[in-house]
């Protein structure tokens, strides 16, 4: 195995990890051949696999305390008046917008009304009768 090939192997290992089965086919074929030919190559591949095995073995698992965490998150929120205010303001703004939209929509002429009624209503709102 040449120094260039070793450099290529290390580059591939760092790019794709130690599981050769997940590598692109061409790269995997080269790595398999290098592993057969060179003890150093085999050790490098094994080192990456040991890293990944140790990562899997040291995965920081967590006991199930979801309800307690949810309660704490909500409590934290309630204990923080600024955040409470921000949430209330967002609801308040949404409510005010809904009210304004409701008033506006209520003031629009009904589509199922007779055309003369629609015109009359529009005129009433605009004071247009005085124009005529």
């Amino acid at each position: 195995m040449t120094p260039n090939e070793m450099e290529e192997l290390l580059d591939l290992l760092d790019r794709h990890g130690g599981r050769l089965e997940n590598w692109p086919a061409e790269a995997r074929a080269k790595a398999e051949a290098w592993r057969q030919d060179s003890a150093v190559a085999a050790r490098q591949i094994a080192a990456m696999r040991r890293v990944e095995a140790a990562l899997a073995a040291s995965h920081p698992g967590v006991p199930d305390e979801a309800n307690a965490l949810a309660a704490r998150a909500m409590q934290e929120h309630q204990n923080n008046p600024q955040r409470m205010l921000a949430r209330r303001i967002s609801w308040g703004v949404a409510g005010a917008l809904a009210l304004v939209a409701g008033v506006y929509v209520g003031s629009l002429p009904r589509l199922d009304a007779a055309p003369s009624d629609i015109v009359a209503a529009a005129l009433d709102q605009s004071g247009g009768r005085d124009v005529w």
């Binding site: 290390l10 290992l13 790019r15 080192a47 140790a54 040291s58 909500m74 955040r83 967002s90």
Partner: protein
């Protein structure tokens, strides 16, 4: 899953505490694992995740799934947890996760068990020496099982930048394992 998340978040937006508990139950474990790997401290990780869910509770009313490239609840939670954890490492010195004794694996020999324990200790030391963003790339890839594209999105960087972090982290960890083996 995403539709279920969106529905849960819609219920949370209406102040539904039960839906919030379900959202927390769905995501809490993975988020704590992610944060713990980055900050190296489970208690700090739990505080980070509590903050993530506090933000979710606050921002739920403003949540809007968006079209094809729609905002993704899981992606948002992972992104916030990752950012908070990286920020936290600027304030708190990283300490390797408490290595509680692993259960004995009876399928391997005592010698293999010793080697595995040794590898875990070496890995912990090497992880501690990595820059926090490289640790985050490792956590997103190996603990969360994310693709490079999803990992890049979680860290709000390009895929190329994420791959570079991952390559550098893997190189450091592999070399640490080789050096230790040579000693």
């Amino acid at each position: 899953m995403e539709d279920a998340d969106d529905e849960l978040l819609a219920q949370v937006a209406r102040g539904d505490g039960v839906a919030f508990s379900r959202l927390v139950a769905l995501h809490r474990g993975k988020l704590i694992a992610l944060a713990a790997r980055i900050v190296g401290n489970r208690a700090v990780a739990e505080e980070i995740v509590q903050e993530v869910f506090t933000r979710a509770w606050i921002h739920a009313p403003r949540w809007r799934p968006q079209g094809d490239g729609r905002a993704n609840v899981t992606g948002w939670l992972v992104r916030v947890a990752t950012n908070l954890a990286i920020d936290q490492t600027r304030r708190v010195h990283y300490a390797p996760l408490d290595s509680a004794p692993e259960p004995i694996d009876t399928s391997i020999s005592a010698e293999q068990q010793l080697m595995a324990d040794d590898d875990r200790r070496r890995l912990a030391a090497a992880l501690a020496a990595l820059p926090p963003r490289q640790r985050a790339a490792i956590a997103l890839t190996y603990d969360q099982g994310l693709s490079n594209a999803a990992g890049a999105e979680a860290m709000a960087i390009s895929v190329g930048a994420f791959e570079l972090l991952l390559v550098r982290a893997r190189r450091t960890l592999r070399q640490a394992m080789m050096e230790d083996k040579a000693q």
